[in-house]
Symmetry: C2
Subunit: 386 residues, 2 copies
C-alpha cells in the first residue's frame, strides 16, 4: 500500500494550477463548500461530512495560500493539514453560522468589484443553507458571485500519479473482494445478507469504508442498478449483480460484477459476452485524441446497435474523490481524453424486455492508450453452481 495522504508538493501543484486558471478567468477567489472541493486543496479527510448540520468553507485566493473558515470542532484535524490560516467559529450558531466570519475573510482576500467563483455548473451544489448564501451576498454587495468558470472540474478531471495510485489501490481491493463472491452467494441466501457479507469482504481486503453498494438478483436479469437489497433468497436462474464504490485513503473504486446463480441461460451468457465486448471496444480506443462521446458510441454500437443510449443515461463517467465525476460518456460530451483521466466504462444491455444487465470497469488514460485499474472480467459470466 502507498503511504496515506499526499506530500505538500501535491497541494502546492494543485494550488498553482488553480491560481493560473483563476488569472485567466479573472476570478479573485474560489469559494468552496463541499467535501471533495475542500479536500482537494487541503487534504482534510473526515467522514464527519455525513452530518449535514455544519457548513464548512474554503477560500482559495488568486495569490497566497487557502484560508479555511470552519466550525471549531474541525480545528484540531484541519490543524494537522498544511493549511495554516484556519478561522473557526463555534457551530452551530443560530445567529450567525460562520457567515460574518466568511464575509470578512472574502472581503480581506479580494478587492472591491472582484469576481468570486463558486462551482455552480453541472454536478455541483452549494453546501450551505440558501438563506445564509443570500445573507453572504448582501454582506458583500461589492463582490460578484459567479460560476467558477469550471476551474474545479478541469482540475479534478485529470489525476496526478499520486491520485492514480490511490485509485489503483481501491480498485485492487474491490477486485479481490469480487473474486470471493462465490464464497458468500448461493441459492437460498437472502440478497440482503449477500450485501452485508460483500461489504465485509471489501473491508477485509483493506477498504477504509464502503460508501456505495447497489445491486440486484433476479431471474434472467434485473430491473435497475440502483436498488438496495431486499430479503429475497437467491435462486437458481438469478443474475446477481453487485456494484460497489469503496474507498481507500479518500479515493473510490466504482465497478460491478455479474454472477449467474446456477447455470446461465443462453440469453444471459450472450448478454455478458456483449457487455465485455463493448467494454473492450471502448478500452481499445480510449487514448488521447478520442473524446468521452467516442467511448459512448463504441459501446452503444454493440449494446443497442447504435440506438443512442438507454434509461441509464450514460455508459460511464469520471472517477476519483467521488463515486462519479465528470466527464459523462454520452453523445453530448466532447471532452477530449487526456493522460491522467480515470474513467469507468459501464455498458448496459437489455436481455429481455424490462430485464437488463450492466457491466463496469475502471481505467486510466495514458499517453499511448488506456490501462486497467480494475482486473477486467472475462467474457464468460461466472456461474455459481456449488
Amino acid at each position: 500500500m502507498t503511504p496515506r495522504g499526499f506530500a505538500e508538493a501535491e497541494f502546492l501543484t494543485r494550488l498553482s494550477r488553480a491560481q493560473a486558471a483563476m488569472q485567466t478567468a479573472d476570478i479573485a477567489a474560489l469559494f468552496l463548500t463541499t467535501e471533495p472541493e475542500i479536500r482537494y486543496f487541503t487534504g482534510f479527510l473526515t467522514r464527519f461530512w455525513e452530518s449535514p448540520t455544519r457548513p464548512w468553507f474554503l477560500v482559495v485566493p488568486a495569490q497566497g495560500d487557502p484560508v479555511a473558515v470552519i466550525p471549531s470542532i474541525g480545528g484540531h484535524l484541519m490543524g494537522q493539514s498544511w493549511i495554516t490560516d484556519i478561522r473557526t467559529w463555534r457551530a452551530p450558531d443560530y445567529d450567525d453560522d460562520g457567515v460574518t466570519l466568511l464575509a470578512d475573510t472574502l472581503a480581506e482576500l479580494t478587492p472591491k468589484g472582484a469576481r468570486i467563483g463558486l462551482p455552480s455548473g453541472r454536478e455541483t451544489h452549494l453546501r450551505m443553507p440558501l438563506q445564509d448564501f443570500q445573507r453572504l451576498q448582501s454582506l458583500l454587495p461589492d463582490r460578484d458571485f459567479t460560476n467558477d468558470a469550471n476551474i474545479m472540474r478541469g482540475l479534478r478531471e485529470v489525476k496526478s500519479e499520486a491520485e492514480i495510485e490511490k485509485l489503483r489501490a481501491a480498485c485492487t481491493i474491490a477486485s479481490a473482494a469480487f473474486s470471493s463472491v462465490p464464497d458468500i452467494a448461493r441459492p437460498g441466501i437472502p440478497l440482503a445478507k449477500v450485501f452485508r457479507d460483500f461489504q465485509r469482504l471489501c473491508l477485509a481486503e483493506g477498504a477504509d469504508w464502503v460508501p456505495y453498494l447497489a445491486g440486484a438478483a433476479a431471474p434472467g436479469g434485473y430491473g435497475d442498478v440502483i436498488s438496495p437489497a431486499d430479503d429475497r433468497p437467491l435462486a437458481k436462474g438469478d443474475v446477481l449483480m453487485l456494484d460497489t464504490g469503496l474507498v481507500h485513503d479518500g479515493y473510490f473504486s466504482d465497478f460491478d460484477r455479474n454472477f449467474s446463480i446456477g447455470r446461465a441461460s443462453p440469453q444471459v451468457r450472450d448478454a455478458h459476452v456483449k457487455l465485455i465486448e463493448a467494454t473492450q471496444a471502448a478500452f481499445a480506443i480510449a487514448r488521447p485524441g478520442a473524446t468521452a462521446a467516442d467511448l459512448f458510441h463504441a459501446m452503444d454500437r454493440i449494446v443497442t446497435g447504435g440506438a443512442g443510449g438507454s434509461d441509464a443515461g450514460r455508459l460511464g463517467h469520471g472517477l476519483g474523490m467521488q463515486l462519479t465525476e465528470p466527464p459523462s460518456l454520452i453523445p453530448a460530451d466532447d471532452t477530449p481524453l487526456v493522460p491522467g483521466m480515470v474513467l469507468t466504462l459501464e455498458p448496459g444491455i437489455e436481455v429481455t424486455p424490462g430485464r437488463i444487465m450492466v457491466h463496469e470497469e475502471n481505467i486510466v488514460i495514458r499517453e499511448t492508450g488506456a490501462e486497467w485499474l480494475s482486473l477486467p472480467a472475462p467474457p464468460e459470466i461466472v456461474e455459481i453452481t456449488s
Copy 2:
C-alpha cells in the same frame, strides 16, 4: 426485525401533516431536492445519492399526491413506491437537466403568484446546481421561491412509532457491535484495522451499511472526535473511542463508546464517570416540558462546571434518517421536547489540556420521560487488558 419500509398509511399521514402546515404557511408546494426530504414522502431508498451527478426533485402540492421529477435511471425503483405520478428525463442532459420538466410541473401544480417553499434554513442545502436553480426561477417569474417555513424540520423532528422501531433496531445492532470491541482491539493492532473490523462487526450484527465511523486512540484522551483512522498501533494507556452511525432500513444509530487499552489512569476513569453522570442527568430531565437547551445545561454543568460549552459546539442533537438532525443541544435552542423526538446525548470533557473524551447515547422522548435506544454504558470505562 421489523418489516422493511412503511405501510402506505405512514406516507399519507406525513403528507396530510405537511399539507396542513402548508395551508397555515400559505405555501402552494414544497420543492424538495435532498435524499432525506424525498425519501420522507416517497420511501425512495437508494445509496445512489452517493453519485452527485444527477439532480432529483419532488414536488409536494398543497392538495393531491406528490409528483416525482427524476432521472430515468430511477424510474424503475420509484415505480415500486406508492408514488404514481413519476416524470423522468434521461440524465445527464447538458442542455436541460430536468429544469424544464420541473418548471412545467411546478407551473401545473401551483397557481400564478404562489409561494413555493424550499428548505433554506439551517441544516439544509439545495441539491442541484445553482445555475439550474437560477434558470428555474427565471422560467417561473410568477412564482415566489421562499423558505419552507421550516415545515420539513418540524415534521421530521418528531418520529412515528414505525420510525422509532427502525431507530431502535439500528441502535440495537450498534450496541451488539460495541460489546464485541474487546475481541478486535488490543495493543499492537493498528487503529485502521480496528476501524475496518468494527465496521465488519456492525455488518455482521445486521447493519445494512455503515455510513459513519470516526474515532481515535491516544494516551489519556484524544484530540478530536471526527478523525479517520491512522495506522498507529494501539498501545497501553490509550483511550480508544469509536463513534458509529450505522443504518438499518434507512434509519441511523449514532453513538460512541470509549475503551481503555490496558488499565485506565485515574483521570481517564474519573472523566468517564463524569460523562456517564452528565448523560444520566440529561436523561433524567428529558421529557415533555423540557427544552433542548435544558438538556445542554444539565450536561454542561457536570462536564465544564457550567462554562457554556466547548469547541464541539453542542452536546447532542436529533437523529433519524440522517446521522444528525435538528434540534441541537445548545443554549440557544429552545425547542420544546415532545413525545417521539429521538435525540443523542453527547457530553464531552477535557481530561487534560488538549485531551478530550466524548460519550454518546441515543434516546426517545415519551409522554412520561425518556427511553434508551442504545444500551446505556456503565460509569466504569471498559478496560481491555487481555
